[in-house]
């Protein structure tokens, strides 16, 4: 015997609104009416970020010779060791490039601190940031 399911009413697609081009959820405040752990306790719940403002790229370097390149370890699994190998490659093949390996100071999944970015602007010429998962 056939069963009728009206797609627009009686499927898991029913009642769903899809909004294209949205921003991913990032960590932040709780939904209204909810309670959660104390602030600062572990990973905060998810929220949508504010819309990204426009930006321009820094001018590219003519050459890396003699320049200081920061190798930024985000803290994600494997980042530390991967950046070690990038540093090893530069030491072997482009020894005139000074590489500084540093761990990003904030949360692995958030752009929540600026100290390293300020240091790179002051003391560095370029940065390689990784890894993401």
């Amino acid at each position: 015997m056939a069963i009728e399911i009206r797609y627009s009413v009686l499927t898991p697609e029913a009642g769903v609104q899809r909004i294209a081009g949205a921003s991913p959820m990032v960590m932040g405040a709780l939904p209204p009416g909810m309670r959660g752990p104390a602030p600062g306790a572990g990973a905060p719940p998810l929220r949508r970020p504010a819309p990204a403002s426009s930006f321009t790229f820094a001018r590219r370097l003519d050459t890396l010779d003699g320049k200081t390149v920061y190798l930024v370890d985000t803290g994600f699994g494997g980042s530390y060791k991967f950046m070690q190998q990038v540093q090893k490659w530069f030491a072997k093949h482009m020894p005139s490039v000074k590489t500084i390996r540093k761990r990003k100071s904030g949360h692995v999944f958030m752009d929540d601190t600026t100290d390293l970015w300020e240091e790179i602007k002051t003391k560095g010429d370029a940065a390689v940031v990784g890894v993401a998962g």
């Binding site: 009728e4 009686l10 909004i19 572990g42 699994g77 490659w89």
Partner: protein, 440 residues
């Protein structure tokens, strides 16, 4: 990540290596540096040098339109039960087990289980592969609740879970699990199990509520391998997320939701999430519970924990060991669970999630980072990050302990039907909470 880049209107110079990066020896990672980017075929290190020295073109990344999730949706699905079951699974709406097909009659009956209108938005989910924000309504959750096998009286709990916006299926490459726990009067109104076999697959309310959360996660798109789901092994607990109720009547301590500021007469659903779960194989017959937990939690690097204990365990702790409240025992655990610093910092997830606090100078982590590997630290140092819930049927003083972190609590009562909507002849499907026979 590749999907994010395709759909991202900002052409950042991203470079890919083969996956994973974690856990590989130095030689393999060096090969990654000198090897090919699997996305472009170009040499990774050359791409790095080029990204720093060549102009970044706005056409460097092809921006594609999001892939349509619904391709020409039919107006009507009309087929045999067997074929519809196959269609539902093929569309990614189920975990593969048979569902209760959401006919109009069943969905309408489910909608009577709440006072909220069918078109009210309950929450939203972000789909990482298509970058769509999916807003789901009461209607949508009613369909899913029917599929899970729920009845109208379960619907307020299921709506409260949906309102948390939490997913039962986490995207992480790791194997997250969760506990879904209900407090308050609704536990007994809808016949949830908080006693013998509370975590066993024997109770309809526990089963369908846990399943409804899983099916929501499927329907919201969290189930697509290598697009929204990357858990290398997965976690079998996601079938039901240990859905249970706290045994408030037999507990010697305050219910969990009261600890979180809700009133005892409010009904609340809470979620705890993490990776590692110990089932006590036996009782604390030859050692105290504290000594047993020193062994178990001492092998579980973490900063948060959830301890699920039988009422007998709680009673012994209070009456024989003097822990008057849950908070008292949490404080004891925070001070007495120790492990070597090297064991703590050597754990991959600790390095990733907590080491940054040490680097920022936040105590106690900053000091712990300077200790020798064999120095003992108290990793669960904050008693506020330890949760205790009392579940079980008092046939044996057993417990479970997990590195699960308390995540969120959502009120249920706001989703209840209006009393005026209940009918005298029972045809609405909503049992009368004042009738002691109604929920048997």
């Amino acid at each position: 990540m590749k999907d994010n880049l395709r759909l991202n209107k900002s052409p950042l110079p991203f470079i890919f290596t083969p996956h994973p990066v974690i856990g590989l020896p130095d030689e393999a990672l060096y090969d990654y540096v000198e090897g090919e980017d699997p996305e472009t075929g170009k040499i990774v290190i050359q791409e790095i040098v080029d990204a720093l020295t060549r102009p970044v073109s706005e056409t460097q990344l092809k921006v594609e339109s999001p892939e349509s999730v619904i391709a020409e949706a039919p107006a009507l699905l009309k087929d045999t039960e067997d074929n519809l079951q196959r269609i539902f699974y093929a569309k990614g709406w189920t975990e593969g087990l048979p569902v209760i097909l959401p006919t109009e009659e069943r969905v309408n009956a489910m909608l009577a289980g709440t006072s909220h209108p069918a078109d009210e938005v309950v929450g939203e989910a972000f789909q990482m592969d298509t970058r769509e924000l999916v807003k789901y309504t009461v209607q949508n959750i009613a369909v899913i609740a029917v599929m899970a096998g729920a009845r109208p009286e379960h619907f307020p709990v299921i709506l409260a879970i949906a309102a948390t916006r939490q997913t039962a299926l986490m995207p992480s490459t790791t194997a997250f699990g969760a506990v879904l726990m209900v407090n308050g009067p609704i536990r007994n109104e809808i016949g949830m199990n908080c006693g013998i076999g509370a975590f066993s697959a024997i109770n309809q309310a526990n089963s369908v509520i846990g399943r409804a959360w899983l099916l929501m996660s499927h329907c919201w798109g969290y189930n697509r391998p290598l697009r929204t789901l990357w858990s290398s092994q997965g976690n079998n607990l996601t079938y039901n997320s240990m859905c249970c109720a706290e045994n408030e009547e037999r507990s010697v301590w305050a219910p969990f939701h009261v600890q979180k500021g809700f009133k005892a007469e409010e009904s609340v659903v809470s979620i705890f999430r993490g990776w590692t779960l110990f089932n006590s194989p036996g009782t604390a017959a030859n050692r105290t519970l504290g000594e047993e937990l020193k062994i178990q939690m001492g092998a579980m690097p973490g900063s948060a924990a959830t301890l699920i204990m039988d009422p007998l365990v709680a009673r012994n702790l209070k009456e024989n060991e003097g822990f008057k409240t849950k908070e008292d025992y949490c404080r004891w655990l925070s001070q007495n669970i120790k492990m070597p610093a090297g064991r703590f910092w050597g754990a991959d997830h600790i390095d990733m999630l907590i080491a940054s606090q040490a680097y920022q100078g936040i105590e106690p982590y900053a000091s712990w980072k300077k200790l020798p590997d064999d120095a003992l630290i108290a990793p669960f140092h904050d008693p506020g990050q330890i949760s205790i819930i009392v579940v079980g049927g008092e046939t044996s003083p057993l417990w479970k302990v997990a590195d699960y972190r308390y995540t969120i609590s959502a009120p249920i009562d706001t989703w209840r039907p209006n009393k005026a909507d209940e009918c005298a002849d029972g045809t609405c499907g909503i049992p009368d909470p004042d009738d002691p026979e109604a929920y048997k």
